[in-house]
């Protein structure tokens, strides 16, 4: 039995005229790291809200089909129960700061206070989560005094500390520098290896290829492609449908037309590209 099951999910926001998600179905296994890519308006954020229970419990609107996590149906659960198993961090970190806390340490503890974790355990969990995401040095700073990238790390840590079974991330690295974003991918990978199931919307295709187990390409609320990162992210269909692709994939595709790329599959990452072009050079 898959850990996350979407069955024919169709969803229409109360204020919109056409559905944002259309007949969407997929399965995710426990501990799997799935990346979701897609152009603007593909329904990526709505999918995140649906997995995290906010669609339809918070946004209302018309929904059909089924969302199941760990054998429980979203339609038969309340949002308050749902969030105990599913964590959500989204793009704008500023709006994810509770506004009721004085330091980063207290901010991260906010969720644990809400679910009644005892004080000593709370301290331990906050410290562990902060060292995992590498923000231990920010503990005593005000959350408002941080940069966008640092705030995003705080937002991610605030969710990780809750230890959700399913972690849903909607562009969690959009304001980070490249090194910071790479570190976050590493942290998420590690969580998946420890058994947390992860769904992450991201545009940074090279790192998706490096870290994710599987990629879902979403277009107009439907799955366009689904499969391993190198299958999906090198597909011609992505270019035709206006998805962002890795510069290494584009370069190799051009090279292939001129007979300068010898391998069967196109590269996504720098390493794959280097390997392929070395073959050409040595040939």
């Amino acid at each position: 039995m898959a850990f996350v099951v979407l069955k024919n999910l169709t969803y229409l926001y109360p204020t919109s005229e056409k559905p944002v998600l259309r007949n969407l179905s997929f399965h995710i296994q426990e501990g799997e790291f799935v990346a979701v890519v897609g152009p603007n308006g593909a329904g990526k954020s709505t999918l995140c809200y649906a997995l995290a229970g906010f669609v339809p419990h918070f946004f209302k609107g018309e929904i059909s089909g089924e969302i199941e996590v760990n054998g429980r149906k979203s339609s038969e659960s309340t949002l308050d129960e749902w969030v105990l198993n599913v964590g959500l961090a989204f793009q704008n970190p500023f709006n994810q700061i509770s506004g009721a806390k004085y330091t980063v340490f207290e901010e991260i503890a906010f969720g644990l206070e809400n679910i009644g974790v005892p004080r000593e355990e709370m301290k331990k969990r906050v410290e562990d989560a902060m060292s995992l995401t590498g923000i231990g040095d920010l503990a005593d700073r005000s959350p408002y005094s941080l940069s966008g990238g640092q705030q995003q790390r705080v937002a991610l840590t605030s969710i990780l500390v809750m230890r959700p079974r399913l972690l849903v991330l909607d562009e969690p690295t959009s304001q980070m520098d490249p090194i910071g974003a790479r570190e976050v991918f590493g942290v998420v990978r590690k969580m998946a290896e420890e058994g947390m199931t992860v769904v992450m919307v991201e545009h940074k295709v090279e790192w998706i290829a490096n870290f994710a187990d599987r990629v879902i390409a979403l277009k107009e609320g439907q799955i366009l492609l689904e499969g391993s990162a190198s299958e999906v992210l090198t597909s011609e269909a992505l270019v035709e449908n206006g998805f962002g692709v890795s510069r290494y994939t584009s370069a190799a595709r051009e090279a292939k037309k001129k007979g300068l790329w010898k391998k069967e599959r196109l590269p996504v990452t720098l390493d794959e590209a280097a390997e392929g072009f070395n073959l050409t050079r040595n040939a």
Binding site: F54, G99, A100, Y102, E106, G111, G116, P143, I159, M162
Partner: protein
């Protein structure tokens, strides 16, 4: 602007008092100022209780400048209204139809005493009480979490609103919006400022609701708190006396006026 609205981080005895003690003292001073007889009670409490407390809390200069800034608009309107539109009385001077009266000026001064009292007591409370400690205290006192959250975050709305307004204004200016010049130009500049500000704030509210909900805000479980708020038996006794005094003052205030 800092993240915690008006809170001024200092090490002081007043800062370390239990928030509930300070809430009750705040109510006591205001009740006393409004019920005790005597026209100048407000000024008296400000001078002999509020400012000495501020001295203890090491926020005298902050309190002075904030009280001044907040009270000034009230002072101007009160003095204008009572000074110039007082019916019968001894004129201070007469210029055309303008003839401010001494009686009006005195009444305005008495009213100002009450306004300054209320302002300075609230400001002193906000400057010396951490919002998060207040939130925990309110919840412990039985106030529902959502109400406590609203009270505490509302204290921070003004700085956050101001920050956002300035960002939007800068963005509009960089696209050529005129914001300086005569009154008409300035008024026109408000339109492209207000719409994004209001819509943006509504969206922010929605996202913030999602974010705190995702962190179990309504989980229905018994909440715990990371920080411990120190309390003492002495403070508990003081609070009992304060509650008793507030009710006593209200009763006396009513009796005196009968």
């Amino acid at each position: 602007m800092n993240a915690l609205g008006m809170y001024v981080a200092r090490e002081s005895g007043l800062h370390s008092l239990h928030p509930l003690t300070k809430v009750l003292l705040t109510l006591l001073f205001i009740t006393a100022g409004l019920t005790l007889p005597g026209n100048w009670t407000g000024y008296f409490i400000v001078a002999f209780i509020v400012f000495p407390l501020a001295f203890w809390g090491r926020v005298v200069s902050n309190l002075f400048s904030a009280t001044w800034k907040v009270s000034l608009p009230f002072a101007i309107s009160v003095i204008l209204i009572h000074g110039f539109f007082w019916g019968e009385g001894t004129p201070v001077f007469e210029v055309g139809i303008l003839s401010p009266k001494w009686e009006g000026a005195i009444f305005a001064a008495i009213s100002m005493g009450r306004i300054i009292l209320v302002m300075s007591v609230f400001l002193l409370f906000s400057m010396t009480t951490r919002p998060d400690a207040l939130m925990i205290t309110l919840k412990q006192a039985g106030v529902p979490s959502s109400i406590a959250y609203i009270i505490v975050t509302t204290l921070q709305i003004a700085p956050s609103f101001q920050r956002k307004a300035l960002t939007i204004l800068d963005a509009q200016r960089s696209r050529g919006l005129e914001t300086e010049g005569n009154l008409y130009i300035r008024a026109k500049a408000l339109i492209p400022l207000i719409l994004p500000l209001v819509l943006g704030s509504l969206m922010e509210v929605e996202e913030r609701a999602i974010a705190i909900e995702a962190r179990g805000f309504n989980s229905g479980k018994k909440e715990t708190s990371l920080i411990e708020i120190p309390d003492t038996p002495l403070q508990k006794n003081i609070r009992r006396i304060v509650i008793f005094s507030i009710f006593g003052l209200i009763v006396l205030g009513v009796l005196w006026r009968l």
